[in-house]
């Protein structure tokens, strides 16, 4: 059985990566291989990373208020690359109405401050394994 590989990314002009690091650590401690991109990434950089790293999922953290711009751009890139099977989820300071709208566009889940880490880990595991069984790589 192979471990899940998840890209944890920060996009745009947003230097607050504490949340991303907490999530990265939680996923690591759950046995996943977490690829951290660092700050200030463009949607294109994030999706290229996911492709080269053969990631099962991408977790995008946004605390800058630009979520309604950046999430759709990542979705667009995933589509352009034919990589919609990569589980795309996110988190940050995102108002409930926006979260609903983003999910309608194709973001699989949005986690806001206070979301239990176990819930995030369980979601990532279940969703990624549904997309791509681990036993057959």
């Amino acid at each position: 059985m192979r471990p899940l590989r998840i890209v944890v990314a920060k996009a745009g002009l947003d230097g607050h990566d504490r949340g991303a690091k907490v999530i990265a650590r939680a996923l690591r401690d759950a046995g996943m291989e977490v690829i951290y991109t660092g700050l200030f990434q463009t949607p294109e950089q994030i999706v290229q990373t996911a492709i080269q790293e053969d990631a099962d999922g991408i977790g995008l953290s946004i605390l800058s208020g630009a979520h309604m711009t950046l999430f759709p751009l990542v979705l667009e890139q995933l589509k352009a690359q034919g990589a919609q099977d990569v589980v795309f989820f996110g988190g940050g300071t995102i108002p409930p109405d926006d979260a609903v709208a983003l999910k309608k566009m194709g973001v699989r889940a949005i986690f806001t401050p206070g979301a239990p880490l176990q819930e995030i880990v369980d979601f990532v595991k279940a969703e990624c394994e549904k997309e791509r069984p681990l036993l057959s790589s």
């Binding site: 471990p3 759950a30 291989e33 977490v34 991109t37 990373t49 790293e53």
Partner: protein, 307 residues
């Protein structure tokens, strides 16, 4: 993905130059299911220049790597990077963070970067790093740079994989006896003294030079390059040194020797891995009690190995 049709499709995509197929092929090798893919593609490999970068944690391996990628891209060659970071011995998870220093190359189509977790493999690489390097070579990348985990003194496996091994050191990390010790200092083709702005950089350079003077070298004598990777200072000199070493390998015929060493290493690793799995299964089945030597003897006999 292990079914023959799926493998055929993957190989076809790979031959068509799709980066995602290369990425998937590496995943298969990491999962220990890469035999069929490698069998279908190995004859396309053999032309890439392989460079290894090793050294202690925090010395600047990833930043040096990023600088080298820039140099390679300026001359128009395509480059693959494999960065290895350790896996947790407790959760088996990993945080792979070497990419952060390579961000400027993410969207360059001539660059393919793969982070690998060591997954318990010792020696400074991951179990599938050699496979990944072979696949990148077969994919048509001209240069493959392999960055090891932060190495201590004994992680020398990179010497069996790379044609040119760069050992990066930083000033202020030990006295002259440290540079005389056995281990990674013996595998260097090129020494990099990084963080050249450090007040003790010159002293480290002197210590390496005096160590080299009392060693005996046949053929290539390791070169010392001083760099400040963050600003890019010295990277051109480093690339020039790598090219000199590559020319030496070709002229002396040592390149063939290194190729054979790598082949032998890989065959041994694959075969030994299989034997290890078989023995583990047998010993676990026995319950794990009694005389360990006798148990080993029984396990070997069961595999048909007898003195």
């Amino acid at each position: 993905m292990s079914e023959p049709q799926a493998i055929d499709a993957l190989v076809q995509e790979f031959r068509a130059g799709r980066p995602r197929a290369l990425a998937r092929a590496i995943t298969l090798c990491e999962a220990g299911c890469g035999a069929a893919v490698v069998a279908a593609l190995y004859d396309r490999a053999g032309t890439a220049m392989t460079i290894g970068i090793t050294g202690p944690p925090g010395v600047g391996k990833s930043t040096l790597c990023s600088g080298l990628v820039r140099s390679v891209r300026t001359v128009g060659k395509r480059v693959g990077v494999i960065s290895v970071d350790p896996s947790s011995p407790f959760s088996n998870g990993a945080l792979l963070g070497d990419r952060i220093r390579l961000a400027e190359h993410f969207t360059d189509e001539g660059v393919f970067i793969r982070s690998m977790a060591s997954r318990g493999h010792l020696g400074g690489l991951a179990g599938a790093t050699t496979d990944a390097a072979l696949l990148m070579d077969a994919f048509g990348l001209d240069v493959v740079i392999v960055e090891t985990v932060g190495a201590g003194q004994n992680e020398v496996e990179i010497a069996s994989l790379a044609q040119t091994v760069i050992v990066a050191l930083q000033p202020g990390s030990g006295d002259s006896v440290q540079v005389l010790k056995a281990g990674i200092l013996e595998i260097a083709d090129i020494f990099v003294v990084n963080k050249a702005d450090h007040p003790m950089a010159n002293q480290l350079r002197r210590e390496i030079r005096s160590m080299l003077q009392i060693m005996e070298y046949r053929g290539w004598v390791p070169e010392i390059v001083t760099t400040q990777a963050l600003s890019g200072e010295g990277i051109q000199e480093l690339w020039a040194s790598i090219e000199r070493h590559a020319a030496y390998l070709n002229e002396s015929g040592e390149v063939e020797l290194r190729r054979r060493t790598r082949f032998l290493h890989q065959v041994r690793a694959i075969a030994a891995g299989r034997i290890r799995d078989l023995i583990e299964r047998r010993v676990t089945g026995e319950g794990g009690n009694g005389d360990p030597y006798a148990a080993a003897e029984r396990a070997l006999k069961a595999l048909g190995i007898e003195e």
